[in-house]
């Protein structure tokens, strides 16, 4: 049996799906379609491995969602996922004119089977018109990124429109933008890398007060510089689906996450940030266990913010904690609760989405209210997973990708 995917959407779902593809097209020219029991993930990674985007549509987003892995007999008896890589140039034009698609499309069917190496997108439109697109794909195992966004010291959540007003300031010629935060202030400004050389470029800065944010927690005063293009992409998507955008980050050099989360989908962009001058001592102090408790507190309050949906009451938890470091290696071995999750390598092979959103641990109904103890352990586990990659994150603009088994 080949691996397969079949999903059905209505007009307004197509619009959101199309918007997700448009957002991911800002990251790179290639798109992976990666179905799993968690839903359909659309993934994209740029060639310099400095930006990764993933939009995960939960099965309940679709009118109908069906998928299966292939059962190929080989040494390990492993199930193979649909390893479907598409060119953005092929798929983007299909999802153009989204407003008219939303109006005219009654049903959209996307289906594929890996033995045919193509996906079929059918639009059943008004007046009995049916439009079919066959797009060939390349068999390629999706690259995934492990990033523990809830382990970040700094987390912000803001209505996209407010941030979009700031984006207007910056010209499209400016590639990078710098975000500077303190517990009392948020500032978006032109990257100072450029302005020294080009005496004709305008330096712009926009400051926001914490009360403009739905959630504002700064544990580390910092300035990070990242690519503007991807921020615009995520912002446009977030505005289109009317969901606030979250920003998770720590110190320069460590990747940051831009995310948008609602009941039906979850989008994450993981971006590399410019590292500080390496000669500067930027290594944070080691983390003591007591901070673990604070971490779970943050997650709990974070999830509260999410659960209340569009909570207008800003949560200004500002605290100057010692700069955190990713968990020490020893934690990995002590972990027993994390057994189900298995080692990172094995996880990838089983095709699970290793890009776990920590909120799901807390808000996952199967776990019930969940003991704080269990939560702490899960956090530690994910910290441990990340710590394996610690060297990656500390190196400037390094590759974010953890290549999958087959590479």
């Amino acid at each position: 049996n080949p691996a397969m995917l079949k999903c059905v959407m209505n007009g307004s779902q197509v619009k959101v799906f199309g918007k997700a593809i448009q957002a991911l097209s800002r990251v790179s020219d290639e798109l992976w379609l990666d179905p799993s029991e968690k839903g359909l993930a659309l993934r994209s990674m740029n060639s310099s491995r400095s930006a990764y985007g993933c939009v995960l549509f939960s099965p309940v987003f679709f009118q109908h969602y069906q998928w299966s892995t292939s059962m190929k007999m080989n040494d390990n008896d492993r199930a193979f996922n649909l390893n479907c890589k598409l060119g953005m140039k092929s798929i983007l034009p299909i999802f153009r004119c989204l407003t008219s698609l939303e109006r005219n499309v009654e049903k959209c069917k996307i289906f594929t089977s890996s033995d045919e190496c193509k996906i079929v997108i059918q639009f059943f439109c008004r007046h009995g018109i049916k439009r079919t697109h066959n797009v060939c794909f390349q068999e390629s195992q999706p690259l995934q990124v492990i990033f523990e966004k809830n382990m970040c010291t700094n987390t912000l959540m803001i209505q996209p429109r407010l941030l979009a007003e700031a984006i207007v300031l910056f010209t499209s010629s400016q590639e990078e933008v710098t975000l500077a935060v303190t517990p009392l202030n948020f500032c978006l400004k032109s990257s100072s890398e450029d302005s020294m050389d080009l005496t004709n470029s305008v330096y712009s800065e926009m400051s926001f007060g914490p009360d403009e944010f739905d959630f504002f927690q700064i544990g580390l005063d910092t300035e990070i510089t990242f690519c503007f293009k991807e921020l615009k992409g995520m912002l446009t998507f977030s505005e289109a689906i009317h969901v606030p955008i979250s920003i998770h980050f720590d110190f320069p050099g460590k990747p940051m996450a831009l995310s948008v989360d609602d009941m039906l989908l979850e989008a994450n962009f993981i971006l590399a940030t410019l590292a500080d001058d390496p000669s500067r001592a930027s290594s944070p102090q080691s983390l003591c266990l007591s901070q673990t408790r604070k971490r779970s507190d943050m997650i709990r309050s974070n999830s509260k913010a999410d659960k209340s949906g569009t909570s207008q009451t800003p949560e200004c938890i500002s605290r100057k904690s010692a700069p955190k470091r990713l968990y020490p290696r020893e934690a990995a071995t002590k972990n027993s609760a994390g057994e189900n999750c298995g080692s990172p390598q094995r996880k990838k092979a089983s095709g699970d989405n290793i890009f776990e959103v920590p909120e799901s641990i807390v808000s996952d109904t199967e776990e019930g209210p969940g003991s704080p103890y269990l939560r702490k352990f899960s956090c530690m586990f994910f910290g441990a997973v990340s710590s394996d990659q610690q060297e990656h994150f500390n190196r400037p603009l390094d590759s974010l990708a953890i290549a999958s088994d087959s590479d």
């Binding site: 007003e165 207007v168 300031l169 010209t171 005496t199 330096y203 712009s204 926009m206 007060g209 403009e212």
Partner: protein, 280 residues
């Protein structure tokens, strides 16, 4: 040298933004002259602009609630600086919900015009936006080339038709010919003509009216039907017209036969003079 000014009135801010948008459309780079009572946007680089010059003037007290300047010296109490016009208009783009605007001459690694806007955001907290626009200070020895151009003794002076109409006409003509003839008489007639080998197109504007004559002598002997004309580069005319987003309060065209056409506009309290020379 010092300069700091502040605008707190929303209408003044909008008008100032409109002026900067207009300047950005008329000149890529221009000179800003700051004097105790006025601000001028000047384009006088005859070589670079192909002979076009521009003089825009506004009275500072019509805009600024606070205005302090200290020129190069006591005898020369003025500041001349050069900037990229688009940088200023883009910096003012965020002023829709502005509570106040401050402009300052600063030196941050290099001389800048710093624009600070205090915005009132939806959540009723205020936001500060700052733009540092790089500028070049123009030395005193070059000031003589940047003085107000003298208004030539024109052969014909006429009120312009609605600029939007003129613009759409010239826009279409641009595809057919690269140069255009603008002609007018003292009888309120203005024509825009293009001539090629294959075709000749003229748009006639009638009953425009002529402003009262400055000197009685020069035009007493002139036949009111007689046209004064200038051959000009059509792109330059189009650029001028594109800069006028709003119809001006007053718009006069002065033609010196075969020499130059001079547009004299008034946008509420901002005056604009634009000179397009004849093609040689």
């Amino acid at each position: 040298m010092k300069f700091r000014a502040k605008i707190v009135d929303a209408a003044c801010l909008n008008q100032f933004t409109r002026v900067s948008n207009m300047i950005a459309k008329l000149a890529k780079t221009c000179t800003l002259r700051i004097s105790p009572n006025k601000l001028n946007f000047i384009l006088s680089d005859k070589l670079a602009s192909g002979g076009v010059s521009m003089w825009c003037e506004l009275e500072q007290e019509n805009f600024f609630s606070e205005f302090q300047m200290e020129g190069v010296s006591a005898e020369n109490n003025e500041i001349y600086l050069e900037l990229t016009s688009e940088n200023l208009s883009r910096a003012l783009k965020t002023t829709q919900n502005a509570r106040s605007l401050k402009i300052k001459l600063t030196n941050k690694h290099f001389p800048c015009l710093t624009i600070s806007v205090e915005l009132l955001s939806v959540s009723s907290s205020s936001r500060i936006v700052t733009h540092d626009i790089p500028i070049t200070i123009i030395p005193r020895r070059l000031w003589k080339d940047l003085q107000e151009p003298s208004v030539p003794d024109s052969d014909v002076s006429i009120y312009l038709p609605v600029l939007k109409t003129m613009r759409s006409v010239v826009e279409k003509m641009k595809n057919i010919s690269s140069h255009l003839i603008i002609e007018a008489n003292l009888n309120g007639d203005l024509n825009l003509k293009i001539e090629t080998e294959l075709v000749c197109i003229t748009t006639h504007f009638k009953d425009l009216g002529n402003p009262p004559l400055a000197s009685e002598n020069t035009s007493q002997n002139r036949n009111p039907e007689e046209m004064a004309e200038v051959h000009i580069d059509i792109k330059k005319l189009l650029q001028f017209l594109a800069g006028q987003q709003v119809n001006p309060t007053k718009a006069i065209c002065n033609i010196v036969n075969n020499r130059i056409v001079h547009f004299d506009l008034l946008h509420e309290d901002v005056s604009l003079q634009y000179f397009i020379p004849a093609l040689s």
